[in-house]
Structure formats: structure tokens, C-alpha cells
């Protein structure tokens, strides 16, 4: 009986995060059933192949409004929407103001995951050049969830993991291979 500890894994990334994220997804063993919700800073109003770029192994789904979170699925926040979760574990899309100059914003998704999943959430924040995700990570920790940032020493852009570490205690800072091990061993 694996994967009992977390009911959801949510991952945020910006500049310098794509390669790291691809690696995590490709090394995610098949038995990991936990749904994964990814938020990346992306361009708006351009056609995007991001879903296919991220993983050659797993299919990435851009959820539609009101779709239910399902085990094994890997979700990617669609371009130009914030992605939130409702108490009944369905997705809610939101087209409101940019947050941290971003839509989707990692803060929005992390905070919403914290509210719905509490202590059963695992949040992972990767490389990035702004501060999006730090406040959301703080909410994850405050709700009893688990937080990991990519070790700044290994991140292409350090601002994002550093900002999260700065405002919350109890976040693990791990290099990529350890993030993967953490997901595999701990779930």
C-alpha cells in the first residue's frame, strides 16, 4: 500500500523549471497514483505544445472547468487561467487579475490546494525568477501539508525557491534526484 500519505502533489515552476519538471514526471513510477497538479508560467494567446513537451511517458491533461480530480492523472494549468480547487475536489478555472504578474499563478493554486487538501498535500516549487508560489507554499505549510523547494544551489533561477524559504519554516530544500526519491519513498 503505497501513496497513502499524500492525496495530491502540486508542482509550481517558472524560468528554468521545464527540464527539471520533465525529469520528475518521467521518473515518476507507474505505481504512483497520486494526482499531480502543475502550474507553470506560460505565454498567453499562443498555441502551446507544453503538455506534450513535459513528458514523453505520461499524458498531461489541461483540465476543464468543473472536472473532477482523478487518481493517476497529471494536470497542467491551462494558459491564461488561474487554476483552483473546490471543496468537492473539482477544478475551478478563474480568469481574474494577474497575481505576481502571472496567470496562472502558483500562489492561487497552492493556496487553494492547501484549503482543500490540508495535511495531505505535497507542494513542490522549482526554479523561477519571481516570487510566485512563496505565499501559496506558506499556506500549504500552515495547513499541515508538506513543502519542498528545488535546492537553490541546483536551480537555474533561485528567486522562487529562495522567496519560499524566506517566509516559511519547515520546507525541505532538495536537489532534483532527492525530490524524486522523496516522492517515491514517502507517498
Amino acid at each position: 500500500m503505497k501513496n497513502k500519505k499524500y492525496d495530491i502533489i502540486t508542482i509550481g515552476g517558472s524560468a528554468g523549471s521545464i527540464a527539471v519538471l520533465s525529469r520528475i514526471l518521467d521518473e515518476l513510477p507507474d505505481y504512483v497514483q497520486t494526482p499531480v497538479v502543475i502550474v507553470l508560467h506560460r505565454l498567453r494567446n499562443v498555441q502551446s505544445e507544453m503538455g506534450r513537451l513535459l513528458s514523453s511517458k505520461r499524458r498531461i491533461i489541461e483540465p476543464e472547468d468543473k472536472e473532477a480530480v482523478k487518481a493517476r492523472n497529471i494536470y497542467l494549468a491551462p494558459q491564461n487561467y488561474h487554476l483552483m480547487l473546490e471543496a468537492d475536489k473539482t477544478f475551478m478555472l478563474d480568469y481574474s487579475e494577474l497575481v505576481n504578474y502571472s496567470r496562472p499563478s502558483i500562489d492561487m493554486t497552492f493556496s487553494s490546494v492547501a484549503e482543500v487538501y490540508g495535511s495531505s498535500a505535497l507542494a513542490i516549487l522549482l526554479s523561477g525568477a519571481n516570487k510566485d508560489g512563496a505565499k501559496g507554499m506558506r499556506d500549504i505549510i500552515a495547513a499541515g501539508g508538506t513543502g519542498i523547494v528545488q535546492d537553490p544551489a541546483t536551480a537555474a533561477f533561485v528567486a522562487m525557491p529562495l522567496a519560499a524559504l524566506e517566509i516559511s519554516k519547515g520546507i525541505h530544500a532538495l536537489p532534483v534526484e532527492d525530490i524524486i526519491k522523496f516522492i517515491i519513498n514517502e507517498p
Binding site: P63, E64, K66, E86, A87, L93, S96
Partner: protein
């Protein structure tokens, strides 16, 4: 600390707004509405849910500020350019068969997508015989939309979107730039009527060949989505078109059987019979 309100307070607040002012937010998706109420509290310097309720009960101006703030008023011209391209190639040629064309933009915000539609119709040679009804529940949005003034800064993105949508002309012909703003040409705007309509509480007011309601459903729960889809069904002429936001879906609503899908990715549907 994270600012927050309890679920009981949230329900109270929604009820006060409904009973005292007639704005019914009970069918709104909770995650987003709650977040916006909490944001409004910190913006307005309100520390407790009690204080918020007190002000709502006693101060109409305060309520107006709340509505302005919690409704989402974000929009852009030619949002999702490929959707507009599909309108150009698959929908407008069908509308051309009608001697008079009536279009409803529901939840039009400050009008950017309505102006986009007017440009499309103009380029298809249909604007002269089209009447666009554009509605929103927020009177401040309608006031802005009516003026037809947009920030100049946004035009760079909009011209890009316009070209992506298959725009045929020189985009700058559709507005006049003055200082930091642009004014959308009167010739486009004179075919548009902006007025207040609340999708939750108001009913059918005309019959349309096309209804555009994009990125409004996302703020509603499933029940309210059903209700509004029924309202649109009743407001469409037989074989009339309905366009939703590209991440919105009617597949969770039973009424979807009464629509055929014209474009699954761009969420264009058509009333059957």
C-alpha cells in the same frame, strides 16, 4: 497569518447581499468568490467578517464597492484568437443567411470582446444589419464599455491577437489614439447596445442567432450553469449558436443533448431545432 472567513460567515454575507440588494451569488463557485471577498476585506481595511456584515447591512455605497470588486472584470480583445478565427470561418458565413442578425454578449465586462465581434462582423460585411446586445451585471463595467475607451498600452497585445485571429485589415483603423487611451470608432460601436442583465435572476429578453458567453460559467456552480444554459437555449433561435470559453464545458449539464457541437476545442455549440 492567512486572512480568512468561516464558511458560516461566507453564507451570511451571500445572504445579506441577496436579501438586501437582490444580487444572488448563492450559485457562484465558492473557491473564487470567497477569495475575492477576502481580498476585498483587506483592500477595504475590514478586519472581521462581523464588520463586513455590519457595513453591508447599513451602507449601500459600501455594497456597490463590494460588487465592483468581487465580480471579475478582466477581459481582452480577441482573447483566444483561434476561437475568433473559427467564428470567422464557420459561424459568420452561416449568420450571413439572415436578413437581420441579433447577437447577445452575456457577461460582456468592459466590452473588449464585444468590440472584437463588431470588427469581425465589419470585415465579413455583416455589421450593417447586425444588432449586438451586450449585458453585464456590473453597472460600472457597462458605463466603461459604453464610452469605448481602452488603455493604449493594451493595444500591442490586441493587434497581435487580431492578426492571429485572421484579421484582414489594419487594426489601427478601428480606433483613434489620444494620449494614453484609444477610442473605439463610433461606426463599430453604434451597432452595440450595452445594458444591465443578471443571468441569475433575469429572463429571456429577445431571440438571437448567436450568444457569446465566455468565461462567465467558470464562476458558477453546476446548478447555476444548468440554469443559465437553459436561459440561453430559450433565447436562441432554432439552429442558433452558443459560444462558451475554451475551458468551459456543457458536458456536465443534461441540456447538452439539445445542442450539437460545432467546434469541440473552441466550445462552439448549436441549438438543435
Amino acid at each position: 497569518m492567512k486572512e480568512d472567513i468561516s464558511n458560516a460567515d461566507f453564507v451570511d454575507i451571500v445572504n445579506i447581499v441577496k436579501l438586501q440588494y437582490g444580487y444572488d451569488f448563492t450559485g457562484y463557485a465558492q473557491a473564487s468568490l470567497k477569495r475575492r471577498i477576502v481580498r476585498f476585506m483587506s483592500y477595504a481595511g475590514i478586519a472581521t467578517a462581523f464588520e463586513l456584515k455590519y457595513l453591508l447591512v447599513n451602507d449601500t455605497d459600501f455594497f456597490n464597492r463590494l460588487v465592483q470588486y468581487i465580480t471579475v472584470n478582466v477581459t481582452e480583445m480577441f482573447r483566444d484568437p483561434l476561437f475568433y478565427q473559427t467564428l470567422r470561418t464557420q459561424v459568420l458565413p452561416k449568420l450571413a443567411a439572415y436578413p437581420n442578425i441579433k447577437i447577445w454578449h452575456a457577461g460582456c465586462s468592459t466590452g473588449e470582446e464585444v468590440f472584437s465581434m463588431a470588427i469581425l462582423l465589419h470585415e465579413a460585411g455583416l455589421l450593417g444589419r447586425t444588432k449586438i446586445y451586450a449585458t453585464d451585471l456590473n453597472p460600472m463595467n457597462l458605463e466603461k464599455a459604453n464610452m469605448g475607451i481602452l488603455p493604449l498600452d493594451n493595444m500591442k497585445d490586441y493587434v497581435y491577437n487580431y492578426i492571429q485571429s485572421g484579421g484582414l485589415g489594419d487594426f489601427s483603423n478601428y480606433y483613434t489614439a489620444r494620449y494614453d487611451n484609444v477610442l473605439i470608432k463610433k461606426e463599430l460601436r453604434k451597432h452595440i447596445t450595452f445594458f444591465q442583465h443578471n443571468l441569475v435572476t433575469d429572463t429571456v429578453f429577445n431571440e438571437f442567432q448567436l450568444i457569446c458567453c465566455r468565461n462567465v460559467f467558470i464562476y458558477f456552480n453546476r446548478e447555476l450553469q444548468n440554469h443559465v444554459l437553459q436561459l440561453f437555449y430559450d433565447s436562441l433561435s432554432p439552429r442558433g449558436y452558443l459560444a462558451m470559453g475554451i475551458k468551459e464545458t456543457m458536458r456536465f449539464a443534461s441540456i447538452h443533448e439539445k445542442f450539437e457541437t460545432i467546434h469541440p476545442a473552441h466550445k462552439i455549440y448549436r441549438r438543435k431545432g
